[in-house]
Symmetry: C2
């Protein structure tokens, strides 16, 4: 279940409330594209900004409209007790798995993070994806800590932040992680620009920001990789270079993907939680031009 | 009001709930030491980990037991609407000012942060302290952004993260900020180890972690500086070098100060919010030895 394309939809807001009908349409779009799984309330889904009640409701809507596609729910929070509440609500909503990033305000130690995963896996019966996202959590996992956590019963997958650009180095990195964790724990790549490279290097899943908004395109890359046609996957990804460049230039994927969804009418304007204002008008125009030039509407 | 020693008390937890009687005793201790102000729910007060309801209650208790000492309340949160709720609750509680750090999960732009401060100062009638704490927020203020924000009506003070070690450089840095902001906005130093240096370099306030638990000692340093006896302030701070070294070695002040409070019976054991486990037994013993050797119980 923790292989293939896991699509991370936005949770669009309108007037500081979850735009529920819009969110449901995004979920239905993913189910129709036959993504392998949907991860709602990932970083792209603004989990960190939503209240426990909002998250409970979003989890229910996601499962209800996923048409049987497995739904994973992001449960991260700054305080362990809040994480446990989110886990319980996700389980009640019918989630198939949990995604957990070690959010920080005060820096955390390796032992703090290990204990967090130990507590959650001990209390929830759902499989857990370890979410390594240093750009937002500012916590850096060592390979050794991956190993300690992956030994916990209940850990199903690790979402790694990206792989080196050079194929041999990417492969070596994935093999290094592989050697440190039990066989049943899958490795999923994130950082969309490097996803094809990650799949070619041996990752079995792609935890994808872009896949949450443009699922058909992400499925094309994933399918090629799953069928062993790695050059095709890499070539399909390469065609999207102008998009990856905007991710880098505009300081991260969520602002760009929100602008894409807004451009395509899949989200209301200004759909990110304030204080995140999203892209400026000029930046949005550049995104629109890239999207239109690449013919990206799927 | 935004000068002198502002003491930042812990908000001790016990079994994942605010230890209310213990918190009240910490506040009373600060009032008795005649600190210039109390900032409850600063980073040291674990604001980021508490629910809006818990924060409302803590704000009320702080004001109620401060014996007339001005109380500032930390209102930071990841989402602007949550910040506004906290501001309203702090105002209702009788706070004399608000402390606002731009918490981040997704990185924020300068314009995002400016708009956050604009929105809060437009909606609250209380004076606001700009809280620059890059170690926890991972947002870096430029001097130019200090200037833009400090022009907003309602901004009263800037809490800067520290000053360079070399006195001339510290003075130059404070003068550089001074030149960028209106005269009525005070500059307060944080980073306890560098506080005496900051006061000597021209800061008018010390936003102090240590002062929340050992107020008499922090008052001694502050008083010397306020009376122009900078060498005395620096010498008093220098005597505490073994403590400052533990702050650095153990990765930040909050774990050390919580261990001090626990050692002195001012907080229950394991008083920080999980997943923060606090110091190990060995580390606690070292803290206790330093505290006892320096005779720090005030």
């Amino acid at each position: 279940m923790f292989t293939g394309l896991s699509a991370f939809p936005l949770t669009p807001l309108e007037n500081d409330a979850v735009a529920e009908a819009t969110f449901v349409r995004l979920i239905e779009r993913l189910a129709e594209a036959k993504v392998d799984s949907i991860t709602a309330l990932g970083s792209t889904g603004s989990y960190a900004y939503l209240s426990s009640e909002e998250r409970k409701r979003v989890a229910r809507m996601a499962v209800e409209h996923a048409g049987g596609t497995p739904v994973f729910i992001g449960i991260g929070a700054l305080r362990t007790s809040q994480v446990l509440t989110n886990a319980e609500n996700a389980e009640k909503a019918g989630a198939a798995g949990l995604l957990l990033a070690p959010m920080t305000y005060q820096p955390l130690t390796d032992d703090d993070v290990f204990e967090l995963f130990r507590t959650v896996t001990a209390q929830s019966s759902l499989p857990v994806i370890v979410y390594d996202n240093p750009g937002t959590t500012h916590f850096t996992f060592t390979t050794e800590l991956y190993g300690r956590i992956a030994e916990l019963p209940g850990i199903a997958s690790i979402k790694i932040p990206g792989v080196p650009a050079v194929p041999e180095q990417a492969q070596a990195r994935v093999q290094e992680i592989r050697a440190a964790i039990p066989e049943h724990v899958t490795i999923g790549v994130s950082g969309d620009a490097k996803a094809a490279a990650g799949l070619a290097a041996g990752c079995h899943a792609w935890y994808s920001v872009m896949g949450g908004t443009l699922p058909a395109l992400a499925m094309e890359i994933t399918r090629a990789a799953r069928e062993g046609r790695f050059p095709d996957a890499v070539a399909a990804s390469k065609r999207l270079s102008p998009l990856w460049e905007l991710f880098t230039e505009f300081g991260g994927s969520i602002r760009v993907v929100a602008a894409i969804a807004e451009h395509l009418g899949l989200a209301p304007q200004a759909s990110l939680p304030l204080p995140i204002q999203g892209l400026t008008e000029d930046q949005r125009e550049r995104v629109a031009r890239v999207i239109d030039a690449l013919g990206l509407h799927r």
